[in-house]
């Protein structure tokens, strides 16, 4: 009342003015993103470059936008081969539900924030193409370590 709020507002803007600009002049300057910054979905790769996806389809079902597309073929020995794991970046809302859902920690939210593309086609990203699916349980069985709760059978997706 009686202009107190106005004076307070004026004080705040003056304080801001004296603090100086906080602008990051983006193309010339870049900030280091905070560790937990989340942008587009990426595939986790270990040091040797191997992915961890077992083609279990969980992420595909978890995505509320239905923009993950996984096609795989199952061989006779029940090992799977991923034809592609396709990701429609332009429709992704970066909610991270696929990452949460993945039981094998095969996905992560990346930190690349320069996602603008020149053509529409570039927005369709193939995360994985024509690779064998990871099979941690088999690998563990092979090295005779007791299976720690993970089970191959949960990845019973529709055949491509």
């Amino acid at each position: 009342m009686w202009g107190k709020g106005i004076l307070n507002g004026m004080r705040i803007t003056m304080r801001n003015m004296l603090r100086g600009p906080i602008t990051v002049r983006y193309p010339y300057e870049r900030v280091t993103l905070p560790e937990r910054a989340r942008w587009a979905v990426e595939v986790v790769r270990d040091e040797s470059g191997a992915h961890k996806c077992t083609a279990c389809m969980t992420c595909v079902r978890a995505c509320p936008d239905h923009i993950l597309d996984l096609q795989f073929t199952t061989a006779e020995d029940k090992s799977k081969h991923i034809d592609y794991l396709r990701y429609e970046m332009g429709a992704c809302m970066m909610c991270g539900l696929c990452v949460e859902a993945c039981p094998f920690d095969a996905l992560k939210m990346g930190q690349d924030y320069e996602l603008a593309k020149l053509t529409r086609d570039e927005l369709t990203v193939d995360l994985l193409v024509d690779v064998a699916a990871a099979a941690p349980a088999r690998a563990k069985k092979a090295s005779e370590v007791p299976a720690g709760g993970t089970d191959d059978s949960r990845g019973g997706g529709t055949d491509g």
């Binding site: 106005i6 507002g9 004026m10 705040i12 803007t13 003056m14 801001n16 003015m17 603090r19 100086g20 600009p21 906080i22 602008t23 002049r25």
Partner: protein, 339 residues
């Protein structure tokens, strides 16, 4: 030099000042608003973004001048001039120094305020001629708020006039030279008797500037660009220029009436004489900075609140204050009539 030539040169000087001011103020506005919001403002064109405004002016000049089909042609063309001319005329009576002024009018204060009030007519013209609802609403709002705030504005300067007994702006400035007991400058702002008048003056003068918090007639979030919606190119430029020139005039009036015009305390007249215009301009720019500061801080008020505030609070307040002020200066014989 023949008197006609001299007056012509003076008018040209005023035009030059107005154009220069426009360019400088736009740059200043961008920088100041930027800083108030912790941004940088223009930085790319030229050092420190200095060339941004000249480039914008060039862009404005070379843009296509579009005349919409259904506008009232004559009014549509006259309106920018009807807004620009009063803004230019208002420079006439402003004293930049004891000798620097376009003309030394005995009714300078009244003249400036009257001329300023003509601006709103041009704005209504523009709003009406545009044949566009937004423009019309903008024009109507502008006239409404100008009429409402004209009264407190004119009345708020009365205490000063009562005190010095003249409407001549240079005499008003002269009455403020010297100091109170050698400590405070004898500007009216240092005298608590003038504080209520000053506050009312500032509030109603903000209307003249047509900026937030009182930019109802433009209100880009409601009215596209208000009266200026249909204007492009230099016609729009004239509205723009007049707006910035109005903030200069308002600040100059405030400086003249309350902050001692070109005078400085403790500085002998011989030293002051050559730098008087500089002192005046500096004070005016500080005033403009405060206007921008207000603009960068406050949100837009609502139209009905605005009108209620004028008619229900401001006008009764200023009338009461004039009465009280009159009694005080009569009772204690405080008036210091000049000349």
């Amino acid at each position: 030099m023949s008197p006609e030539l001299a007056s012509l040169l003076r008018i040209l000087a005023a035009v030059g000042l107005m154009l220069m001011n426009g360019v400088i103020l736009i740059y200043m506005l961008r920088r100041v608003l930027g800083r108030l919001h912790q941004r940088l403002g223009p930085v790319h064109v030229g050092p420190q973004g200095l060339l941004q405004t000249p480039m914008d002016v060039l862009k404005l000049l070379t843009k296509e001048d579009i005349t919409p089909t259904n506008v009232d042609k004559a009014l549509y063309f006259i309106a920018p001039a009807a807004v620009f001319t009063p803004s230019l005329m208002a420079y006439a009576a402003i004293p930049f120094s004891p000798t620097w002024m376009v003309t030394d009018l005995d009714t300078g204060l009244l003249y400036t305020l009257v001329v300023m009030s003509l601006v709103s007519m041009g704005l209504l013209m523009a709003g009406w001629a545009s044949a566009n609802k937004w423009s019309l609403i903008g024009g109507m709002r502008s006239v409404g708020q100008h009429i409402a705030y004209e009264i407190p504005l004119l009345l708020s300067v009365l205490p000063v006039v009562m005190y010095v007994g003249t409407l001549n702006l240079s005499s008003i400035v002269e009455a403020q030279s010297g100091t109170w007991l050698g400590i405070l400058p004898q500007w009216f702002i240092t005298n608590p008797l003038f504080w209520p008048a000053f506050i009312i003056f500032i509030v109603s003068a903000l209307i003249k500037v047509n900026q937030t918090p009182f930019d109802m007639s433009e209100a880009e979030s409601e009215l596209v660009a208000g009266f200026a919606t249909e204007y492009s190119s230099m016609k729009f430029g004239l509205f723009f220029l007049s707006e910035f020139s109005n903030s200069f005039i308002v600040s100059a009036l405030a400086v003249t009436l309350f902050f001692g015009g070109w005078t400085l305390p403790f500085v002998p007249d011989e030293v002051l004489a050559p730098i008087a215009p500089v002192v005046f301009m500096l004070k005016v720019y500080v005033g403009i900075f405060v206007l921008m500061w207000i603009r960068g801080t406050l949100p837009r008020v609502r139209m009905d609140h605005l009108m209620q505030f004028a008619w229900k609070i401001l006008i009764p307040a200023v009338l009461t204050w004039i009465l009280v002020f009159g009694f005080i200066i009569k009772l204690f014989d405080l008036g210091r009539p000049v000349g």
